[in-house]
């Protein structure tokens, strides 16, 4: 078993998954269900991946929870991508300074 062949297969499969829909779907989709489904996909996927993962990503679930709340509030108030990310990281750093 050759490690480079493994890596090549991983790369080929990863790329095919990403490139096939991008290249095969060339026109705007008119089917209302599919259109609505694709509209909701990003929100659902990102929400599902965020919680509860964020709570378990940190050393203590408390700091993860605080980061989640801080991130939601910051984004709600209109902070951009970078600011929200930095706020979440800082909150964890500060919170764990007290917790751990």
């Amino acid at each position: 078993m050759n490690t480079y062949i493994y890596i090549f297969i991983m790369a080929a499969v990863s790329y095919a998954i990403r490139a096939l829909p991008m290249t095969l779907i060339q026109r705007p989709i008119t089917n209302k269900f599919v259109q609505s489904f694709l509209y909701y996909v990003p929100y659902v996927t990102l929400a599902v991946m965020t919680f509860p993962a964020i709570v378990n990503a940190t050393q203590s679930p408390i700091s993860g929870t605080v980061a989640l709340l801080a991130g939601i509030i910051a984004a709600w108030l209109g902070a951009d991508l970078f600011k929200v990310a930095v706020i979440c990281c800082s909150v964890v750093l500060i919170a764990e300074f007290f917790i751990i």
Partner: protein
């Protein structure tokens, strides 16, 4: 339509891509660092693990692949596990195909597709109107090298990064997800409700017996298909002006 860096507006878009890609790169770095450790345990050299990261750009997918390499399993097995761990990118690629200007030269699709990750997808889909490929390229430029460098360093340096920093870095990615989903939810009650239901369903799925034993990637796919279908049936796009705003 051409996307040339000779015009100022295109240069601005390219640099805003670089700016948005950088925090993603920092988050990547921390995640890739732990991935590099996993690669080392699986027996990959620093060069091999860096190559895998440059070519695959997938945390869960690469991790799953490394476990297969460690077990010296059949080649078909690594193909299947990569497919399962990355299947959500298929959905993201479908969604992103709808953000492409039909006038855009075709070859850009091959390059944009290369780096459809959770994070890059998030920032690409949240752009207004059609996607300018230069934005994506800018973000790729500042994030992919950090992903690869993180894997290399993780493989070489193992457990040297302070745990506090790893812990803090690890929420950067989720912070970015929130920055994408929260602002549109503020304008739409449907989205607010949907996101809360997603949180609850996702929490339930990690605790319900049997479902919780599935991998994160598989759970994400199942929840996405079920919840996005339900939302599409109950609140179809088009009659609902409110949900159209982005």
């Amino acid at each position: 339509m051409r996307y040339s860096l000779k015009t100022k507006s295109n240069r601005d878009i390219f640099s805003s891509g670089m700016v948005d890609g950088f925090p993603i790169g920092l988050g990547y770095f921390a995640v890739a660092f732990s991935l590099g450790i996993a690669a080392k345990i699986a027996g990959l050299t620093p060069f091999q693990s860096t190559l895998a990261s440059l070519l695959c750009n997938a945390s869960a997918g690469e991790y799953a692949g490394f476990t297969v390499i460690a077990a010296s399993a059949a080649y078909i097995e690594i193909a299947i596990i990569t497919l399962i761990a990355n299947a959500r990118y298929l959905l993201m690629s479908c969604a992103l195909s709808q953000k492409i200007n039909p006038q855009m030269p075709f070859f850009h699709r091959f390059f944009i597709a290369f780096d459809i990750t959770d994070e890059l997808f998030a920032i690409n889909i949240s752009r207004e109107g059609f996607l300018n490929p230069l934005y994506t390229y800018g973000a790729m430029l500042t994030s992919i090298p950090l992903w690869a460098a993180g894997t290399a360093l993780g493989n070489i340096a193992g457990n040297m990064l302070p745990l506090r920093l790893v812990s803090a870095f690890s929420v950067a990615l989720y912070g970015m997800f929130l920055a994408v989903i929260v602002p549109p939810a503020r304008k739409s009650k449907v989205l607010t409700g949907l996101i809360l239901i997603c949180f609850a369903a996702s929490w339930a799925a990690t605790n319900i017996p049997y479902v919780s034993s599935l991998s994160d990637g598989t759970r994400t796919i199942i929840l996405t298909i079920v919840l996005a279908s339900a939302a599409a049936i109950l609140f179809p796009q088009g009659d609902n002006k409110e949900a159209n705003q982005q």
